[in-house]
Symmetry: C2
Subunit: 190 residues, 2 copies
Amino acid sequence: MEIFKQRILAEGKNLGQGILKVDSFINHQVDPMLMDACGAELARRFAHVGATKILTAEISGIAPALMAAKHLGLPVVYARKSKPVTMPDQVYLTVAPSHTKGRLVELIVSPEYLAGGEKILIIDDFLASGATIIGLVRLAQTAGATIVGVGTLIEKMFEGGRGRLAYLGIPIESLACIGSMDDGQILFCR
Amino acid sequence: MEIFKQRILAEGKNLGQGILKVDSFINHQVDPMLMDACGAELARRFAHVGATKILTAEISGIAPALMAAKHLGLPVVYARKSKPVTMPDQVYLTVAPSHTKGRLVELIVSPEYLAGGEKILIIDDFLASGATIIGLVRLAQTAGATIVGVGTLIEKMFEGGRGRLAYLGIPIESLACIGSMDDGQILFCR
């Protein structure tokens, strides 16, 4: 998605050690018009998979997932990282290592909103090592749901997440694929 | 906003002690089409205030703020509750008591995205005691920005937040105002 890649080149900052700062338009300040366009493109790419619900993880997955969900006309569920008082005692919970936090984080979904028979499209901001997304896959599968696709805004190809998700045999899409961040650069895959 | 109030009556759950569970369409599962409509209505009500940026708090403020921002054509900044590695060492930070968490939470904004001279419209999911919103007001004022409005999806009138915000002398709007949740009911103000 050319307009999105250009924005990454213009405003993204390579902080080293594989960390891409996109806080000016995705992760702290958000450009809603760009997110809407990204959501429309993700919706276009996954229009054929028959999803019944979108699943993402708080916090930074919410904006792209919400916009993709709007364009697909589907509800979106965001996995919580702590259990709010409104959630029932019995929940689906898994843990996933967080690259940016350097520790395990919990991913929690209420059984009220993730049921057997659902066809789940996972949307997140980044596909890096794939750890968060594999956590979401486990949650959905535990609920008896089927994963029909994984879409992200930015893929860091060099962290190997796509390979780790290959066992699912489902479409994996990213709007900008970064092949290398060596030497302070941001080089796209194609 | 009638369609929104009807949804609250149909799916909202009064858990007692003033806690309204709206996890099926706002706070865990989100209805993006409804959020889009709410964002459009908030944008309409604040079209005249000359806002240059929307400020909200993660997590549950993101969806309504993002949609309102899209309809107003403005960027949105969400205050973080923990400082990510991508944020500079020097930040704006305040603490606010969290009603649902029963403890103080931090609200953190990077000076990169909150500057003097900005006209800030605050959007959040709930206006209850006003504590979170007053925290956001402090952050914006510390940055030298001006607050031009406060808009929320649901106001719990009986928790008094509107009164605590009156000193600001700015428009305060909510799409559904709940006057009482006594005896398991959900009674709107008007």
